[in-house]
Symmetry: C2
Subunit: 322 residues, 2 copies
């Protein structure tokens, strides 16, 4: 099967067919109609075998994740996803692989109403790069740079599952089959917090998604905003599966330093806490206040049971090949 | 040097800083302002080592080509390029390589006023995927599907250089050092026919860029438009460098079947020939009429010295690894 045939069979005409797509897959470029007075939002993320997924990774999961990580960037901006281009590089044309990959890809694309408008399939070492396009109203995008001293620091969902999945896979943690199944599912099929991002657009002063680890990613907000932060470690929403599998201490470490959970980390001023509570709760969004933004440039301070807390390994998450 | 540092040093703040970019490199996604009543245009092309460039390829050329091939898609649509995302995968952080690569990249980005608004650097086998964004007025994009029986068939520039460079590199042709230098330069630094695309927007009924070979790419126009075509082989603008290096017959073969020249192939109705002549000539655009569109679905017929002509190897260009 040649490139043209492959595209024809597994990509053309699949997934949502949006009314704002004037020309999709099949010409030199795609054409889409932008809604008036909106800014174009663009995110690009690449996944490479042995760096972002293991050699034996399920193609369906790769299809899901390559889209999910970009959707997560959109969630962190409070933006509306619309169209994606997929650059897929394959060692050989393995039809079964492409079939499963596109199943994972189109399932999540369908859920978030994203149309695949183009891309490129090439021969080479396994990798996939997604460039996601969409929109956000002017002045409404959530940046990393808006955090102010006094703002409260929040995170959605629970942390630590994906990091434990990676540690287990690397043989650094030995856990029960049941626990492995649960954390692996979280690693393979991360959710993108698009709905949370929409609520935060009207409540948060800054936001990003936790891909490299809570402490490390918080550093980006602090640097961009010129502030510091204090995390109350006891409040961090550690995944109960991880606590049960490796104990409270190690679980806390994984929750603070582990990446790939794709939860949103965000700051909300005192006067917007009510709005957040009302709207996030109404939409069934789980979130936890884990600390507060402070002035100065002293970075992240951790406190546990009222005392300063120091992490044994303060290096952040560097993906699993590094 | 880590990913953040690499981006900081060689990508941030370089190249054109467009006024329509609200947020560039450095947050979860980029934000840009679309001009009113224009459609968004998106092209994506990936280049992988050993498939699209040789192992010892000059990084400067890779930087140029990864942008040029996308610009060429824009030229073929008559579109205005504006913003690009770069997904760069590197086996290791080789600073010298990145320095040269970005020199090639930003040189062509500067020329066409394209701002790099984001991307991703990852570890893995050498590859680069560019997603280029820009705009075109509604109803003005040049599609592959508009060719009509009776339209004249044109191609810009000259053909055959890049294919000869590949053949020489693979040891299939032995040519003089001087000729090799010339054709290699064409392969390494292809031009994108953006200016020609702008003129064609008002003159052509269909267009695409010749990346896989004249005959093969013409097939895409014919299929999309539901027509056939006749090429007068004697009129095909074969590169004189190629004729001198390998003789007239082989040169013709390379010009008809060889890819990577990134010239525009387009169709113009009789009544627009005057407009084309006037405007293309005024702008110094070289182009040649090489045949005519016919009805039916008999594909591409070649004629030479008034008689039907059959190519010995009618397989098109499949990139050099295949």
């Amino acid at each position: 099967m040649k490139e043209f045939e492959l595209i024809q069979t597994y990509f053309s005409g699949r997934g949502p067919q949006r009314k704002d797509v004037v020309l999709g897959v099949g010409d030199d470029a795609a054409l889409t109609k932008m809604p008036q007075d909106m800014l174009l939002v663009v995110a690009t993320d690449t996944m490479v075998e042995n760096t972002h997924f293991f050699k034996d990774a399920c193609p369906r999961s790769i299809g899901h994740r390559c889209m999910a990580v970009n959707l997560s960037d959109f969630a962190a901006m409070g933006a509306e996803p619309a169209w994606a281009s997929i650059a897929l590089t394959l060692p050989s044309v393995d039809e079964e692989w492409v079939k499963e990959f596109t199943e994972g890809l189109f399932e999540i694309a369908e859920y978030y109403n994203v149309q695949i408008i183009g891309g490129d399939t090439t021969q080479g070492p396994l990798a996939v790069s997604v460039s996601l396009k969409g929109f956000v109203a002017e002045g409404k995008a959530l940046l990393r740079s808006g955090a102010k001293a006094g703002d409260w620091l929040f995170v959605t969902g629970q942390l630590g599952d994906s990091a434990l999945a990676v540690e287990a896979k690397l043989g650094k943690e030995s856990i029960s089959e049941d626990a492995l199944k649960k954390v692996q599912q979280r690693f393979d099929y991360p959710a993108a917090r698009i709905a949370a991002g929409h609520v935060l657009r009207h409540a948060a002063t800054s936001a990003l998604d936790v891909s490299d680890g809570l402490v490390q990613d918080l550093g980006h907000i602090l640097k961009a905003s010129g502030v510091s932060a204090e995390i109350d470690v006891d409040k961090v929403p550690v995944s109960p599966v991880v606590v049960e599998a490796v104990g409270e201490e190690r679980a806390l470490e994984l929750a603070l330093m582990g990446g790939e959970d794709y939860e949103l980390l965000f700051t909300v001023p005192e006067e917007q806490k009510g709005y957040l509570e009302l709207n996030a709760t109404a939409m069934g969004i789980n979130y936890t206040c884990i600390g507060q933004i402070k002035g100065g440039d002293s970075g992240v301070s951790l406190r546990r049971k009222g005392k300063p807390y120091v992490l044994s390994n303060n290096k952040g998450f560097q993906h699993f090949s590094e």
